[in-house]
């Protein structure tokens, strides 16, 4: 009778201990799962932050682009205005000077200076050259 009781007590004790170990293992397992979850979270959170960063950069770039398009069109108008002024200056100069130049041309057209070629000499009579 006593031995049976004793044996029963033993196995009960071992049972309790086994259960305690099971509980302990569960706790540790939970912690491990927590770790795994954390790693996944790291990935998703990082991905979210990256996307935020990317859209911020994109917005920044768009701003830069639109401001630069502005400068280009400004430059265009400035250059066009400048060109117009220069074109007008050309026409004005032409109108002012053209008569003089035409006269110069006409004078030179009729200007003749006949000369013997510098390698030849005047001959006393007819000579084959």
């Amino acid at each position: 009778m006593a031995r049976q009781q004793f044996a029963a007590q033993h196995s009960q004790g071992i049972q309790t201990l086994l259960e305690a170990e099971k509980e302990a293992a569960k706790i540790v397992q939970q912690a491990r799962q927590y770790r795994v979850q954390r790693l996944k979270d790291a990935r998703t959170e990082a991905s979210r932050e990256i996307d935020e960063y990317r859209s911020a950069k994109e917005a920044e770039f768009r701003g830069f682009e639109s401001s630069h398009a502005g400068t280009t069109s400004n430059a265009q108008t400035a250059v066009d205005r400048d060109t117009e002024v220069k074109l007008q200056a050309i026409t004005d100069a032409y109108e002012a000077n053209k008569d003089e130049v035409v006269k110069k041309l006409l004078d030179r057209v009729v200007l003749v200076k006949p000369e013997l070629h510098r390698n030849l000499t005047k001959v006393g009579g007819t000579e084959a050259q």
């Binding site: 004790g13 770790r35 790291a42 990256i50 060109t83 100069a93 053209k98 009729v110």
Partner: protein
């Protein structure tokens, strides 16, 4: 520590102590794991974010440089187009000027005295360039007489200058639309000289370009070397 067997209560309390101990160990281990997990979470997240941020930064830097280059190209295109416009305008004006000149030379032949003098000079020039004993002169129909006289005078001048004799014949075959002047050909027709007013003007148009540019539009501000 008694070496006697434990009674029931003591067994129970020892059991509880052991159970508690096991639990305690487990909790501590779990806590360690959790703390480490949080650390790793932070590190991993920071690493991923930084990596991608660098890649994104590089990407946008490249885009920005591309935009800069495109802007420079556009700017340079603008300047080019502007310069071309200016050159076009100058060319137009020049052509206009030449057209005016070309129509003006048609009136040169009307001043008889000057024209006769011009013809003689031009014929002598022709003789001196040909250096041939026999020459054919081509003139306009309306100039036939003038050219005859001029050619004779020219032959004399030619002999004075070069000591050589020349004989000529005249063919009044130049077109009426020509402004005037003469063409010459050697005896065998192998060598020809075009000394008409039109041709002389054409040559002048070409040779006088630097001078014309200076007179019409002023000297070139960008030019640094003058021989």
């Amino acid at each position: 520590m008694s070496s006697r067997a434990l009674n029931d209560d003591e067994v129970l309390s020892e059991m509880n102590k052991m159970v508690a101990f096991i639990k305690q160990e487990a909790m501590e281990k779990a806590r360690e794991i959790k703390v480490k997990a949080d650390e790793e979470f932070a590190i991993e997240k920071a690493k991923l974010v930084k990596q991608e941020q660098q890649a994104i930064d590089a990407q946008y830097d490249k885009k920005r440089k591309g935009a800069d280059v495109a802007q420079k190209i556009a700017h340079s295109n603008l300047t080019n187009k502007s310069r071309l416009k200016l050159l076009h305008r100058r060319e137009e004006q020049l052509q206009e000027l030449f057209a005016t000149a070309r129509s003006s030379i048609l009136t040169l032949a009307e001043d008889e005295g000057r024209y006769a003098q011009f013809l003689e000079g031009v014929i002598v020039q022709g003789y001196l360039q040909l250096m041939e004993p026999k020459v054919t002169l081509y003139a306009r129909e309306q100039d036939a007489e003038l050219v005859q006289k001029a050619a004779e005078g020219a032959a004399e001048s030619y002999t004075q200058v070069s000591g050589r004799e020349v004989t000529f014949e005249i063919e009044a075959t130049l077109s009426k639309d020509s402004a005037g002047g003469i063409k010459l050909a050697s005896g065998t027709r192998r060598i020809t000289i075009d000394n008409t007013l039109d041709e002389r003007l054409r040559l002048l148009e070409d040779r006088m370009l630097p001078e014309i540019r200076k007179d019409l539009f002023g000297p070139n501000e960008n030019r640094k070397f003058y021989t």
